[in-house]
Amino acid sequence: MQDIYLDYASTTPLAEEVVAEMAILMSDNSFGNPSATDHLFGKQAYELIENARLEVASFINALPDEIIWTSGATEANNLAILGLSRFKATDSKRQIISSFAEHKSVIEPCKQLEKEGLELLLLSPNANGSIDINEFEKAISAKTLLVSFMHINNEVGSINDIKSIGKICRKSNIFFHVDAAQGIGKLPIDVKDCDIDLMSLSAHKIYGPKGIGALFIDKESVGRIEPILSGGGQERALRPGTLATVQIIGMASAYRIAKDKMADDHDHLTACRTVFLDNCKGLRGIQINSNSDDTFPGILSIGVKGLHAESIIYDMRTIAVSRGSACTSDNEEPSHVLKAMGLAQDFINGTVRFSFGRNTTLEDAQFASELYRNSVNRLNRLRGKK
């Protein structure tokens, strides 16, 4: 039996169409430096990149010159939070609001700004893993400069009400940044309709290449931010460095496919989740960490009281999944997201994240749930609990 990949929230394989487009580029004459537009090779690369920029921008209803290429969503988050706050903070507006459920690439830059003298307020998510709008509204004040929340939570799949948060921010004259690393291409998002000022984008979670991402910066409401890197004038001097033509084309290609397949993907992921959960009915001691209408169906985070996720994963053998978030799973620190959701340590230790994708079959979901069920039962037997 081949290993079954159920770690799509961590990263996805490249879509065939993306591979094909990237492969053509790797062997043709578009290897030129896109900044070297004095010759044909550079011009060709430049044009490809600008077409890709248009494609990515239109996907979120932005303008092409509102898209800044980055190495991924982590860099985009850093650039958005550090760049905006350092450029726009004033004596009267110097508070940042975010949440304990955010990715480390949001929380750490926020903490860096706190060290630099800004005020930081991290909100706790509700039991479902999302931000309570009323709590959020109470937390903002005249001193709030920036609010940063993710669209879909990478660990539990909870979805934040980005539109309502955006409206509140716009009304209160607060900049709003969205980390859409996990949400882009999975749920529709319109930056203008949601009043988003900055949004971080990735490619590798929607069947595009790793090492490429982008930051949307609203031209009107934000305009300028401060770069965090120096040494080149690329991307309006906001993000210096030679652009990665092939990856950028791959990202645009992945977005184009996502546009066509988003609704079908969503239905398919819902079906995978249903098959998996139906098969887990009656399994004692399990708890689904986010399971409401506001949960993205592709991410299924399940905890078992008292067990250790590492052993569950080891016991399942052929199922590739994560415990907590993949980025921090090499250390033994419990997931900061699950902790913030108020989960007992017993459940956190035993939490496994299954994440389904376009290539997951219903048979895969069924088989994985059977292995999961067997592993939980076996490990309970080992610890003397029937």
Partner: protein, 124 residues
């Protein structure tokens, strides 16, 4: 090789203590746990100073499960006083034990010592 052994002993269930079936037998129990929520329950049956049977319940990482299963298999037939001589068990040569998991042996050692303490209490 050690990774294969880890898998082998992780998968073994031969000496797992079954609360229903094994409760009638006269085992001494030693328990140890750590702040990560890992726990070992060791059950020794001791006759005239010799461990004639041993069982366990364990909850923790795969390394802990494997070293417990391995240790229990090897401790049967030994004298109780020899069962803390961990070097003789050569656990590190058999089970894949990363540096950051050396504390799992200490946890096992604590459970073994708890068994010995229990036996001494019984004797007194």
């Amino acid at each position: 090789m050690t990774q294969d052994s880890t898998r082998h002993y992780f998968d073994k269930e031969e000496h797992v203590f079954d609360a229903c079936g094994d409760q009638q037998c006269n085992y001494i129990l030693g328990t140890a746990s750590n702040p990560l929520g890992m726990q070992i329950n060791l059950y020794f049956k001791v006759e005239e100073g010799t461990i004639t049977d041993a069982k366990y319940n364990v909850n923790g990482c795969p390394t802990l499960v494997a070293i417990t299963a391995y240790y229990v298999e090897k401790v049967i037939g030994r004298n109780l006083e020899d069962c803390t001589d961990f070097k003789a068990f050569a656990i590190r040569e058999i089970i894949d034990l990363p540096k950051n998991r050396m504390d799992r042996i200490l946890l096992l050692e604590n459970a073994v010592n708890a068994c010995i303490d229990q036996k001494e209490t019984e004797v007194k």
